[in-house]
């Protein structure tokens, strides 16, 4: 009865088909009609993404609980967006070509904005963007922040993931990604951010300007730790928390443009000597300073790229920048200034043979520049969503 009624309703709307091969009064130029297309049909991605692809995190201010990560081909002249991965409620994202997985660390409520809270890491297949599984994080303590990369990191050769917690008590959860379990939790009072350190461990930045390195045992518990004093002056020369990574060396820049490298290859973090400044230039009021959310990038070799604001002063560190300065870490000299098309929030370089500089602008547009010459190559439109704030080159 119900079935019949619906068929009736549909038929009343009167859509009629002939075979696609039937003669139609078309132009002679096209004797055959366009073929029927299959339903359902869902696109897939290559298991190994090309080096021109990046992940752009859309914080989505107007619906923070519905953040996303856009998979973007920066070489595309059309269709730059390859897919979208959910990144709900101040999420963090990790990608592992080795595992063939994208991981998101998220928070959910049973009634969208209220009800029961569930924190979970979801594991997405890089080829299908379908979920393969999840690891529920108990206790409702996952740190929620405007997204920083160093709140969710791998260690132990990408077999484990580390999740920052903040209630505001600070700790780090250790997740075994293969068994899909939380295996331990390391208390981290007074420290924040996670920098993978050594074969199995991490380092955090602490409130007094020190570093704190933790070595983990095979069960995920801390087996040793060490404080490295006076690495940064948080009052006057704080480091942006997000560095540019060259292997296990992280290149940090401070609010006032001081470059500091830290070697995380051993069990204990080791600040490298030879800190230097990105320098100055005319045309600023009062001065040039790094500004934005993701302000430093690298070509994987000797060049650093720093997003610079001409309105540098106290409080300008998130204002975004209008130029990218290219610094040679060998000579500690600025080798180029790249003018951007608009104020930008985040920069990154692709890992292509000839890297591209990817620029997420404050107005949401994403621009591609040639990293070697600085020349503008193309715009990707709003391929990073409403509020692109972080760019990850897998």
């Amino acid at each position: 009865m119900r079935l019949f009624a619906l068929v009736m309703a549909l038929s009343m709307a009167g859509t009629a088909l002939s075979s696609a091969a039937a003669a139609a009064p078309g132009k002679p130029a096209f004797p055959k009609a366009l073929p029927e297309e299959p339903i359902p049909a869902v696109a897939a991605l290559p298991a190994q993404w090309p080096a021109s692809w990046v992940l752009i995190h859309d914080f989505h201010f107007n619906a923070i609980l519905d953040g996303r990560v856009y998979v973007v081909d920066t070489a595309a002249t059309d269709r730059p967006i390859k897919g979208i991965v959910r990144a709900a409620q101040f999420a963090n994202m990790l990608v592992s070509p080795r595992r063939g997985e994208v991981l998101t660390s998220e928070t959910f409520y049973s009634r969208l904005t209220r009800g029961e809270r569930t924190d979970a890491v979801t594991i997405w297949d890089m080829a299908t963007l379908q979920p393969k599984g999840e690891i529920v994080l108990p206790g409702g303590k996952r740190q929620q922040s405007v997204t920083y990369p160093q709140l969710f990191q791998f260690t132990n050769a990408e077999k484990w993931a580390l999740v920052a917690n903040f209630t505001p008590a600070q700790s780090v959860s250790v997740l075994d990604l293969d068994s899909r379990k939380v295996i331990s939790e390391i208390d981290l009072p007074g420290c924040a951010q996670i920098y993978p350190t050594g074969a199995r461990g991490f380092t955090s930045l602490c409130a007094d300007g020190s570093l704190f390195s933790v070595k983990l045992g095979p069960d995920g518990q801390a087996i040793s730790s060490k404080t490295i004093e006076k690495v940064q002056d948080i009052d006057n020369q704080p480091l942006f928390s997000t560095p540019a990574w060259v292997g296990t060396t992280a290149w940090f820049v401070s609010f006032r443009g001081q470059i500091q490298a830290i070697d995380f290859s051993g069990d204990v973090a080791r600040p490298l000597p030879g800190s230097f400044n990105v320098g100055t230039a005319d045309g600023a009021a009062p001065e040039w300073r790094p500004g934005g959310w993701q302000v430093i990038a690298t070509d994987g070799a000797d060049k650093l790229y720093v997003l610079m604001s001409p309105n540098g002063r106290e409080g300008s560190h998130k204002d975004g920048g209008t130029e990218v300065w290219v610094i040679d870490t060998k000579t500690k000299a600025r080798v180029a200034r790249i003018p951007l098309r608009s104020v930008a929030t985040a920069i990154s370089l692709t890992k292509e043979a000839a890297p591209r500089l990817i620029v997420a602008r404050g107005d949401g547009e994403v621009d591609v520049h040639d990293a070697a010459t600085g020349a503008f190559v193309r715009s990707l439109g709003n391929a990073g969503g409403a509020n692109p704030i972080l760019i990850t080159a897998p």
Partner: protein, 185 residues
């Protein structure tokens, strides 16, 4: 309640083929002018930042086939004559495939659009892609042949993420499922 969800998987083509109300088709045909520039819902215009919706800095997407002309990232593309939503062409899919990570709805609404190249009227199935939140790119709304909700398969206001694992809407495709019997002149 009868279990319709499984049954609906057979609807899209099955029902469409099994019916032949030519009067309605003729009426549809008479109102379609595939080559014109169509206005879109004001929200689509505003959201896209383009007077016709769908723009927003998207480079044109061509089929490469002269028999299937136009920009598949534009609301004006001929197959979109009754579309309502984000174009999958801008979201990681194409005009006829869903983006990775989504599931294509097996049931949907149907439009009849004239291809300006071969002048045939094609039956277009606007299958939604489901399980990922609003794509946010290339929002379009065109309503040639759209009728109120009493005619479900002629109405693009329904969330057609039905019979899918999740009803969350991501974007809409425009799939050729056949040529209309009474092709409009």
């Amino acid at each position: 309640m009868a279990n319709f969800d499984k049954w609906t998987e057979r609807l899209t083509r099955g029902i469409a083929r099994g019916t032949s109300r030519r009067s309605t088709l003729a009426w549809l045909g008479a109102t379609i002018t595939g080559a014109a520039v169509f206005p879109v819902l004001p929200v689509a215009r505003a959201a896209s930042g383009s007077p016709h919706g769908g723009g927003g800095g998207h480079a044109p997407i061509s089929s490469g086939n002269p028999q299937d002309p136009g920009d598949q990232a534009s609301c004006d593309y001929w197959r979109y004559c009754a579309i309502d939503g984000f174009l999958c062409s801008c979201c990681g899919g194409s005009v006829s495939t869903c983006p990775p990570g989504t599931e294509m709805s097996p049931i949907t609404w149907i439009g009849t659009c004239t291809n300006p190249a071969d002048n045939r009227a094609y039956v277009i199935s606007y299958n939604d892609c489901c399980g990922v939140s609003s794509c946010g790119q290339c929002l379009c709304n065109r309503n040639e042949g759209d009728r109120p909700q009493v005619r479900p398969q002629s109405n693009n206001d329904y969330n057609w993420c039905l019979g899918t694992e999740s009803s969350i809407y991501n974007c809409s495709t425009a799939v050729i499922v056949g040529v209309a019997l009474d092709a409009p002149k």
